[in-house]
């Protein structure tokens, strides 16, 4: 049986040939929650963007396939891709401050998508919006629906974006660092809200983050990305008990524990970083020789 979402050998590079993703493989079964972790610049957001077909124009896909429900998304023309992704997948974006259109009222932003793109009736869409806002625990939904984005707090906006992502009952949701732009106190609520919504709706979730704490809370499996290369692909329990890659081990040691405020931060050592870099560059050479 083919996986629900399967990324095979995906390589992406800049126009100047610099590689962003290096032969990435990843499988998600229906209902999986997978964390995608890595430092900034590791290319973790790019995987999500490639799936949704919203890669920046400066990037080109060198090879590989993204099989979504058996269809290779990279072979679809823009119209087919829009239809496939629009109906079955959704994005919870990183920055709630710019992810809502400042010119439109909240209600319209959620219903428009259902009405215009998925062909719902107006009244169904409005009813659904109220239900969703209730589900993400927004007080006074009537007022919120008639508000403009700038009138709401960051946490509220992220709740709305979550509601909007679940609106059309998609099978796959990609959460692209949904808590990075938020206050620490709000982060926890948002993470547990996403987890809760996921288990209620049974949605497959790809959770892009650099916060291992979040991963341990929400995900079942995870991929560790370094320089666009998946260096570890394992279940969450195995990862936290016994990470196999030296970089993963260093990453775990580097995660601060808040139980002892006097403990020093332990950065990932230069030695490990260099050895992983060397490994990646060696694979790069093999890759370009093979082409």
């Amino acid at each position: 049986m083919t996986a629900f979402l399967s990324i095979r050998n995906l390589s992406i590079s800049l126009q100047n040939g610099e590689r962003i993703l290096r032969s990435v493989n990843m499988d998600l079964a229906r209902g999986d929650v997978r964390g995608l972790v890595g430092e900034s610049g590791a290319g973790k957001s790019m995987i999500g963007k490639a799936i949704l077909g919203i890669l920046p124009r400066a990037l080109k896909i060198d090879e590989g396939e993204i099989l979504f429900q058996g269809k290779n998304l990279l072979n679809l023309n823009p119209r087919e891709l829009r239809k496939e992704i629009g109906a079955n997948a959704a994005l919870i974006p990183q920055d709630p401050l710019t992810a809502l259109n400042p010119s439109h009222r909240i209600g319209r932003q959620i219903t428009n998508r259902l009405v215009d793109i998925l062909g719902w009736s107006k009244s169904d869409a409005v009813k659904r919006t109220y239900d969703l806002l209730d589900e993400v625990r927004i007080p006074d939904p009537k007022r919120v629906i008639n508000s403009f984005p700038h009138e709401l707090s960051g946490g509220m906006r992220q709740r709305i974006l979550i509601a909007s992502a679940f609106a059309a009952e998609p099978k796959l949701i990609i959460a692209d660092e949904p808590t990075t732009a938020l206050d620490v106190t709000v982060q926890k609520q948002i993470v547990s809200l996403i987890g809760e919504m996921q288990s209620r709706h049974g949605t497959t979730l790809l959770f892009v983050t650099h916060d291992l704490g979040v991963v341990s809370k929400v995900c079942q499996s995870l991929s560790v990305l370094f320089l666009g290369k998946v260096i570890e692909d394992t279940s969450v329990s195995l990862f936290f008990d016994n990470p196999s890659h030296p970089y993963s081990r260093a990453l775990l040691t580097a995660t601060p524990k808040y139980t002892d405020p006097n403990s020093d931060l332990i950065p990932v050592s230069e030695k490990i970083l260099n050895s992983v870099k060397e490994e990646v560059l060696r694979l790069d050479r093999e890759w370009s020789n093979g082409r």
């Binding site: 829009r82 959704a90 710019t98 992810a99 809502l100 998508r113």
Partner: protein, 283 residues
């Protein structure tokens, strides 16, 4: 917090009232010029030449702002001149705005070769000195109202195109565009429904600024006698004629200048005020 935002609102209000009031007055003047003008703007009366305005010695009762060297009433000519000024301001700037903003949004949103073609065109266009370009154009097209309007469009669409392109590009990079794209909206729909409303405040400001600029360009062209025929009063024409007698009759040049100044200022202030109204964040 509440108080300061109210203060801002009040300031905007005053500015809008003053500039809007002046423009409304001009607009009414264009409609009712034949009724409210004390004299025929073209009627020459050599016995009443270079009469001073009404608060100076030697005035004559119906020449409120004095008369020029041919004895034509300055006030009546200013009122009639508003017709040409406003007509040019409205038609030329609206057409300029539509052409420039459309190309700017297309270039900014689609990027790639669309942007390449439009941007290079703008670069080449802007390398021509604008006034020379206008004079050349009118030399080819012949003088007249239509030529002036066409000249303004041809010179100024690049201004819109540049600014709107940049604004569209920065809006296109926002997450809400990516979200809309992931939600399955077509690119054209994103441009029209998501990005355009956010570029609109900038367009409005540019449009009103352009109205002011159009008034100035028309005045410049009449100043060098390239506007419409001299038997129709224009502010630029009056300034040009008043120049020769500025030592004997300063009022002939000063009053049209003040009118021109207030009009251009009003257009730009109205634009600023409208921007604040249109912008959902500032509203």
């Amino acid at each position: 917090m509440v108080d300061s935002s109210r203060n801002i609102n009040r300031k905007i209000g005053l500015r809008m009232w003053l500039s809007g009031g002046w423009l409304l007055f001009l607009f009414l003047a264009t409609l009712f010029a034949p009724i409210i003008s004390p004299h025929d703007p073209l009627a020459q009366d050599l016995f009443a030449s270079r009469l001073p305005p009404i608060w100076m010695d030697g005035y004559e009762s119906t020449y409120y702002l004095g008369s020029d060297s041919l004895g034509r009433d300055v006030l009546s000519r200013i009122l009639y001149g508003a017709r040409i000024a406003l007509l040019v301001a409205l038609i030329a700037s609206t057409a300029t705005c539509i052409i420039g903003a459309t190309l700017g949004v297309l270039a900014g949103y689609f990027g790639g070769w669309v942007d390449l073609v439009i941007s290079r065109l703008v670069d080449i266009w802007m390398a021509f000195p604008p006034v020379l370009f206008a004079i050349l154009l009118i030399a080819v097209l012949g003088t007249g109202l239509t030529s002036i309007i066409i000249a303004i469009i041809v010179i100024d669409w690049t201004r819109f195109c540049r600014v709107i392109r940049a604004e569209t590009m920065s809006q296109s990079a926002m997450d809400y565009v990516a979200s809309a794209q992931a939600a399955g909206r077509a690119r054209f729909g994103i441009m029209v429904k998501e990005i355009f409303p956010n570029v609109l405040p900038t367009i409005v400001v540019l449009l009103t600024l352009e109205m002011g600029i159009a008034v100035i360009v028309e005045a410049i062209l009449s100043f060098v006698n390239l506007s419409i025929s001299t038997d129709f009063p224009t502010w630029g024409g009056m300034i040009s004629e008043g120049r020769t007698s500025v030592h004997q009759a300063w009022w002939v040049i000063v009053f049209p200048l003040i009118t021109l100044f207030l009009t251009v200022l009003s257009f730009s202030q109205l634009g600023e005020g409208l921007k604040d109204r249109f912008d959902p964040v500032l509203r």
